[in-house]
Symmetry: C3
Subunit: 399 residues, 3 copies
């Protein structure tokens, strides 16, 4: 067997990820370190095989269902790419075209779309306390359907962004970091600044900063969360970050200054988000159908926002990072000064300098998703990877 592929398989052989089989992926901190490493390893292996023109299509037929309750480009295409890579055809549940409005319950819909579904990917990040719960409702429904003999297989859930975590994004970010730093073993003691940044738009999800502090505290790094007063994230996720840092030998710190966060940072992740408390309030107003209240809240938030235009990733700030060369991360799309808006999250020259690595960062997402599916669907992933290599069907037939 190919030496590189053998390396991936050897690494998997050292890990315990049995529990991932026929399981789901909600939040990174519900997974063990071994399980997280297994996702990274399978993602790298699948990418390696595709780059070497070896088909990793493990499904001859089967559907990958996507449910996007918010607009999406990259996550939508990443999910479609991941499904396609494994042989699943994407079928989007467009709730406008369905009969869900006509009294159908989540339990019912989940079963009705899953007769031949091997995976369900859901993005539902708009309302605090809702998205993750909805995903659990779907999983409970299909688990019951599978037990009842309604479904021939239990589709695995991939959380494509909820109100709490954005695991496919943060794991793609993390895999990018690992590759940039030449391996997870080189991350001990590195400083990463997850910091709030100004954007003229209101109410960006909290799942990215939460996902980042919930995941990146596991690798012995010094993780700093920076934001203006009042822009706190969910307290329970901060607790997760603290516990992770203690366990991994790193640290988790909170500051209210972008400058402090950037100082000597090896990695910076400046990005706008809405205050957790405000998002919670919005969810309540929405629940009560209080649209005047929502308008009023929005105005307050925009006014609050406008006071923090100085939270921008400038060239000046970048100079204060480690050797002036911190790795700049963003989940994209970024609000770029004088490009997408007057004042935004980042200066255009900074963004431009990091364009190629930013796109590379995004390119890991399809493989992260595919790895999550693969580990949930294959009982013996190492054996399947080996058998795929032996099978040797080219992805692209060239004669």
């Amino acid at each position: 067997m190919d030496a590189k592929l053998k390396e991936y398989i050897d690494r998997l052989n050292k890990l315990n990820f049995k529990e991932m089989y026929e399981n789901d992926f909600f939040l990174t901190w519900e997974k063990t370190d071994d399980e997280i490493e297994a996702v990274f390893t399978v993602a790298d292996a699948l990418r390696y095989m595709r780059e070497n023109n070896i088909s990793t299509k493990v499904f001859e037929s089967g559907l990958g269902i996507s449910i996007f309750r918010d607009n999406s480009t990259r996550t939508r295409f990443s999910f479609a790419s991941a499904c396609n890579l494994l042989g699943l055809e994407v079928q989007d549940l467009d709730e406008k075209k369905s009969q869900i409005a006509h009294g159908e319950t989540v339990r019912e819909t989940a079963n009705m779309i899953s007769f031949m579904a091997d995976v369900i990917g859901i993005r539902d990040d708009m309302y605090i306390g809702k998205g993750n719960k909805y995903m659990h409702d779907v999983v409970d429904a299909v688990t019951e359907g599978y037990k009842d003999g309604v479904l021939e297989q239990k589709p695995t859930l991939v959380n494509l962004q909820c109100d709490i975590d954005h695991p496919t994004q943060c794991m793609a970010d993390m895999l990018h970091i690992i590759h940039e730093f030449g391996g997870v073993e080189n991350l001990k003691g590195k400083k990463i600044a997850m910091t709030w940044a100004y954007s003229p738009s209101y109410g960006k999800p909290l799942s990215v900063p939460q996902g980042v502090i919930g995941l990146m505290t596991r690798f012995g790094m010094d993780v700093v969360l920076a934001h203006p007063e009042g822009y706190d994230v969910m307290p329970e996720v901060e607790e997760v970050a603290k516990a992770n840092a203690a366990k991994s030998g790193g640290s988790f710190t909170k500051v209210n200054s972008m400058a402090e966060a950037f100082k000597d940072a090896d990695i910076v992740y400046p990005k706008s988000w809405a205050p957790f408390a405000a998002m919670e309030k919005r969810t309540d107003l929405y629940g009560n159908g209080d649209f005047d209240g929502i308008d009023k809240l929005e105005k307050e938030l925009l006014a609050q926002n406008a006071e923090h235009k100085d939270w921008c990733c400038t060239e000046e700030l970048m100079k204060t990072t480690k050797d002036g060369k911190a790795l700049y991360l963003h989940c994209l799309p970024a609000d770029i000064n004088d490009v997408s808006c007057k004042d935004g999250e980042v200066e255009a020259s900074v963004f431009d300098r990091y364009r190629a690595p930013l796109y590379k960062e995004a390119s890991f997402k399809p493989y992260i998703i595919a790895a999550m599916i693969f580990l949930a669907k294959e009982k013996d992933p190492q054996a399947v990877l080996e058998a795929l290599a032996e099978r040797g069907i080219p992805r692209h037939f060239e004669g």
Copy 2:
């Protein structure tokens, strides 16, 4: 060969369904008893093969076109699943994104979307006298296109619900009954009540009750159609039901009482529908662009409807069925009391008790659709089933 699969093939060997090859599926009563049984048998065989991880992908490439002129969840996903199971990629003709409004005729569109289409699935159930006709127009167009050398293959039509029949639904219902009662031979003399039930919504299609009485009268059962006065279905379908019953040794009766229908019934199918005469009137008003008339008609129908709130599948009524344990059917989604509406078709406790069998009922639809396609596309279906088993490609490659 696998004994179970041999059993399916042996059963097919006894049937004459030659006419199904390169043909279409409009209405169940246009098919012979042998043809109906062939669909059930192939559906079971395909399900059996999928459950045993044998790929039934007979198409390496090819499209399955769907045209939904009404919202749909389960039929949409059932069609997508069926196509995917056989190797066809679904391409939806979204009439809003097409140029149909710009003077394109049905004949033209039908050909333009069919160059590589092996199947066209259509749902068009909104207007009496329109849906089935539209399907015939499409079939006539592609038949001509095939003869003229425009199309390399004639796509087969699968009626995914028209104004007259809902064959994929009713055949899935029927296959569920057959499995629940341990074989079609056990159905003689069983009583099935297809009964109207109250729903706050107005104008549900007639195709389900019509499809049920048009199909289920063929198996020697005592079929009772119950509805309040004025809620008649199409008279020509009642004639079909009568003739079927006479031929099969069963019976077809009409009553105006839900209680009478439920009494000692083995199977109940309580479901709302609109009166045929009113639907016909609505179609005319629509044709004349008389929207005030439609509004007025709707109000009348809602008032008429409201008088029949007592037509509900209650626990009390269920107790009067055979041993108090009739099999409860519904095409879903159901209007459930105090769940989807205050007063509806069924009490929540009844619905909950039958949830698993209801979902199982729905799970047959993808296989019914796949069987219809398979029988229209394969000249020698038995040989192909056998060859697929011999080919032995796993649906899910597990190393």
Copy 3:
């Protein structure tokens, strides 16, 4: 090997189309004669193989991205068919469902959707100076992404209609002509009339007449462009047509009379389009957000239009063509008198007589698109065609 397939491969062996590998398809006149012939030959070969049930699926996985910035039926389904024929799954970038509005740049989006994309098909024909430019922006972006290691492959671009050319349409038209006349060698001296025709609708794209004169002047034919005064096409495309005609030994003439164009014509292509100057003006008004100006312009154009109702492809005019039997072409849908509108581009009896050949004309488009992809993706197309035949996987498995 099959004699017919060998013939196609032999023909390809005589042509030089090396530059098409890993390249894109924007405008036909950017391609050499050999390259154009290679597209026709591969299209015929792929069609021949499909007709003989040989799978031409060269991709086990991979996406074909479509971006339609205007409604489309036939081009959408042609692209989907072409991708499916080669094994690529279509994923539509619906800009309404994406985050493009949120400050995402073309460069970014192009990369984000292309991680596993082998082809991108774009239709963007609404504004002069925009569509073709947009396609180049996309190609520049993915080319850079590929060089930067962001993308594992550079997706090839297929122009599905821009403001300048409609290469997949015009090449399908041309391949139809070639087949109707029994070979390209029989076209020398044939007269083809690309003529404006009246339509009640305003602002049809110029890409078809431009594409036609830009392509069909390459085969030694006498190409006549006819339109009322003021309905000129882009002057630079007329220059292309002149140069082509000079080189090919044919001619390119402009007249202001439909009768003159039809006289003794072997082929007629009567079709409405908007005046280039007006389209340019509209683009400027649109750029300035001057919607009143656009309304005013539209009224002027409709008034101007209404003066030319006599530009209609009548039976009378058809009689004046070569033996009264010119081949009638249209890209469809046509505006047919008393069918899609009172006065239109063509009389119903003329259209009806040519219905079968018109549909046949359209049927070449999927193969033209597939050939463009094939030639961009295969380093040695002849070897791959031969290997596909040897591989001998049936498109439709029949046991």
